[in-house]
Symmetry: C2
Subunit: 346 residues, 2 copies
């Protein structure tokens, strides 16, 4: 019997194509309505995988729309009872289930204050959807696996559509139609992901490094590894990593690096050299074969998209890596222990 | 010969008292000048320990000033060449050395755009200080140890003064004079910290949990443990932790919990029960003896301050924990491998 998780990983190209078809017009309409507001920054409330989608949004809205993105601290709105003033903010809540009370609470307060609000959720009848002025449905179908995969990539694609919709100049020259095909290509790296998993299988810890747009990818891959394999996988921006945590790296320490996109490549490769010099066991998810090093594990990421869209694609081989690592460690990837699909933090 | 790190940990009460005396008037004057601006949110650029101070600022400016705090993504300003528009932002750069080019770059761009800018640095002659309109000097003296301690706590105290200075109503009824005495009291927990270190010494991984104001404390303690002991110590907001990573916890897995302040106590203690049920080896840094559990490690944190000031104090026993863990693991806490005091990320 095929694993549900593996099946859902494979569904992603079709599911994202479905989202693009179903929501493009409605997201364009949201963009037109937002043009009536003077938006000075974006505030996003999210947890878990959705919070990694919010990290992508920091680079996306920054680069495409010139907007700073703040990640909300929901306890200010709830437990501490001191919600900040939200004048000038566009407030977005991201939640697969739309059930998390603390995320719903942020959106309710934002709407009460008159800020424009958007819910990104897989359930358009959820409390989050009801709380927000606008709702973007993810159209991912039921996600049966506990670990989020297709709801994460549809969140990224929906955020990219939203970003384009509030930047009409950019939208006119840009299409996201190439994304599903690139995702299909990314799934072809499965054998490399399985081989790379062998390099990680003997250790109960690793770090996952990325930078810029693909820092979000590193965070999401680390989360999948933790959820599915119970390996302590810590994500870092490679810039922060050199500020102290690099001290942990000793001979044989497994390091997964996401080296995708032009902007950070030189810096990431210089870091890879320093890590090899310390004896780290590297696995590189990369989009440029010429930087492939024979001693490293290598998982190819297609190089067919502009950098700002690569996070929709680069995470797929990372999901496969986590899946195969779970298999190698004798764990059932469909039933991670102690996880619930919906977390009800107040 | 006494360790330089240990000496600097012990200096903190006096150094923070010195900062409060030296900078209070000048920070009040900055607050008066900022009143001329219409500040809608705060943007902070920082890395490493300074980034943990920025996490404290998220709760501080949120609760005291009703302002959302965004943490900057410096690569948008540098590598990607797409700095966001900063209208409505108060922009703060935090750096011990004031040398990090990417943090300096954020402040230069903010000033070019006309946003009010503040540098928090231990070197008032640094490039960061030169780039900002206002400078708050940390007065920590030379920090000889590679791992930051007194520059971190002076950053927290300076941020608290700044927050009060832009909220005059609050300032009139609040004094920070009690902070140094509480810090002295916190240092008296050293023997408990040494005992607790024994519980962590056999494992090469652990997690550190906090929530709300003391999420920053959890992040900073985890960073000290990684820098000084090469143990993979991952920090979490306890809310995020239950969203997936709790799956890692198995019998004997070491968990450090910061349970300080009233607001999150009930929630943290319910989590502690769930972790004990999974067999985790707990070390609690706590301010309420009645919740002390005989099977846990316990490090007392003084309960003499309002919750929003506790991060200045709660981190001290955590620094001592990391120091003693390094000693137990036979490492020299003054010479962590591979660390540089100044990181020159572009």
């Amino acid at each position: 019997m095929e694993s549900v998780l593996h099946e859902e990983i494979g569904e992603q190209p079709a599911v994202v194509a479905g989202l693009l078809a179903a929501e493009a017009a409605s997201i364009r309409a949201i963009g037109e309505q937002l043009a009536q507001h003077s938006i000075q920054y974006v505030l996003i409330a999210a947890r878990g995988s959705s919070d990694n989608a919010a990290r992508y949004a920091q680079y996306l809205f920054g680069m495409i729309n010139g907007l700073t993105v703040a990640l909300a601290t929901p306890s200010l709105f709830g437990a501490y009872g001191h919600p900040p003033r939200l004048q000038g903010a566009l407030v977005i809540g991201i939640s697969q289930s739309g059930q998390s009370p603390d995320i719903v609470h942020v959106l309710e307060e934002a709407r009460r204050q008159g800020a424009p609000t958007i819910a990104l959720t897989n359930d358009p009848h959820s409390p989050l959807a009801a709380a927000a002025e606008h709702c973007i449905a993810l159209h991912a179908g039921t996600e049966r696996s506990i670990a989020a995969t297709k709801t994460y990539t549809t969140q990224l694609a929906a955020l990219a559509l939203l970003s384009l919709s509030i930047s009409p100049a950019f939208a006119a020259t840009t299409s996201m139609d190439a994304v599903p095909a690139a995702m299909r290509l990314a799934l072809e790296s499965e054998e490399q992901a399985r081989d790379a998993a062998q390099r990680l299988a003997q250790s109960d810890r690793c770090v996952v490094l990325g930078r810029g747009f693909n820092y979000a990818t590193a965070c999401e891959i680390a989360l999948k590894i933790k959820e599915l394999t119970y390996v302590v996988a810590e994500p870092y921006s490679s810039a922060d990593f050199e500020h102290g945590p690099i001290a942990m790296i000793e001979r044989g320490f497994p390091v997964v690096m996401v080296v995708v996109g032009e902007t950070m490549r030189a810096e990431m490769l210089a870091l890879a050299d320093r890590l090899r010099a310390r004896g780290a066991a590297l696995v590189v998810l990369g989009d440029d074969e010429q930087f492939r090093h024979s001693d490293d594990g290598w998982i190819a990421v297609p190089a067919t998209l502009p950098e700002w869209l690569t996070p929709c694609v680069a995470v797929l081989p990372g999901q496969l890596l986590a899946y195969h690592l779970a298999q190698l460690r004798g764990l059932n990837p469909d039933r991670p222990r102690a996880l619930n699909k919906v977390t009800l933090t107040n």
